[in-house]
Symmetry: C2
Subunit: 188 residues, 2 copies
């Protein structure tokens, strides 16, 4: 297959396929992010990358915590609103029609409408290497998981394109088999 | 919506939706990884997480470089082969029917059959925070990009499930608009 070869390295970043979109909540603010991944299975932790000029960047440094809220594909309009305003000037919960919900282990709100997953996280490390984004590692303190959780409704994004998550490729790997350990509590 | 709340934090990791699969090449070896993301737009860099007991972990430390090769969904069988063997005992290029190709800026091979994208990267940082995985940040030294590159053929994975990448949600954001800067060279 014919290829272009070059040293425009930003095109190498642009060429990545698609990542899950998350709504990062800190204090009373919300930020849309695709710069998100797990960091470690044990201790269970995740990481989020934030440009230093964003309002949320200062909030995370100040509060030392964040919530990860996984939206569904039908929340695209709300995700776009949260991604297009600055929380410095606007209340994104009000603008996007989202409901702040008290967390159990952190002070920041989580989002009531994010059906599948909320994670309450405490910042344990900021990655000490310069770049366009600061990456904060957060250790999970509490997990909220929909009883009927499925991955199939996730909202994906990479530069320029929102996408749905694609279908399974291998039969037999259904969602009910993913979680092996029972949760201790429950809520309506 | 009814939710379970708990402190089985690994379920919070399990609940993440889906990430792009990449084939990480170091020296003459290949590793399948979903623990992969960009790190910075400028300088353009990516990061990959590897468990310390993996053969590739020692190779990356020794060589200080890696290739990122993005497979397509029709390469699922090859990706699974590379994910199920250890390069300590097997030649994965031979086992998976993949062709090693000389890189331009690093010594490690890249994979000729990975049609959309190969990135040649030099390790610039290892994230200094303990966890199940070591994350290596690699600065992009060279980009190989298919002339007819599209994101739609990407292969996705998260624990337990291989998936296709989903369709666009917003009209007008087609692939041809993603790359704005022309490449300097070309090859057949």
């Amino acid at each position: 297959m014919s290829k272009m070869v070059g040293d425009n390295f930003a095109d190498g970043i642009m060429a990545l396929p698609s990542f899950p979109v998350v709504l990062v909540t800190v204090d009373q603010n919300i930020m849309t992010a695709a710069a998100f991944h797990f960091y470690s299975f044990n201790p269970a932790s995740v990481m989020v990358g934030i440009k230093p000029d964003k309002y949320t960047h200062g909030l995370i440094q100040e509060k030392g915590e964040f919530g990860i809220n996984i939206p569904t594909v039908d929340m695209l309009d709300k995700v776009q609103i949260c991604g297009s305003l600055s929380g410095k000037n606007e209340n994104k919960y009000a603008k996007a029609g989202l409901t702040p919900k008290r967390s159990n282990k952190i002070d920041s709100f989580i989002i009531a409408e994010c059906p599948p997953v909320n994670l309450e996280c405490k910042v344990v490390h900021r990655i000490e290497y310069e770049g366009s984004h600061s990456w904060f590692i957060g250790e999970i303190q509490q997990v909220h998981l929909a009883v009927n959780y499925v991955r199939d409704q996730a909202l994906m994004f990479w530069l320029g394109q929102f996408r749905a998550v694609g279908g399974h490729l291998i039969e037999g790997a259904d969602n009910s088999e993913l979680f092996t350990v029972s949760f201790r509590g429950s809520e309506a």
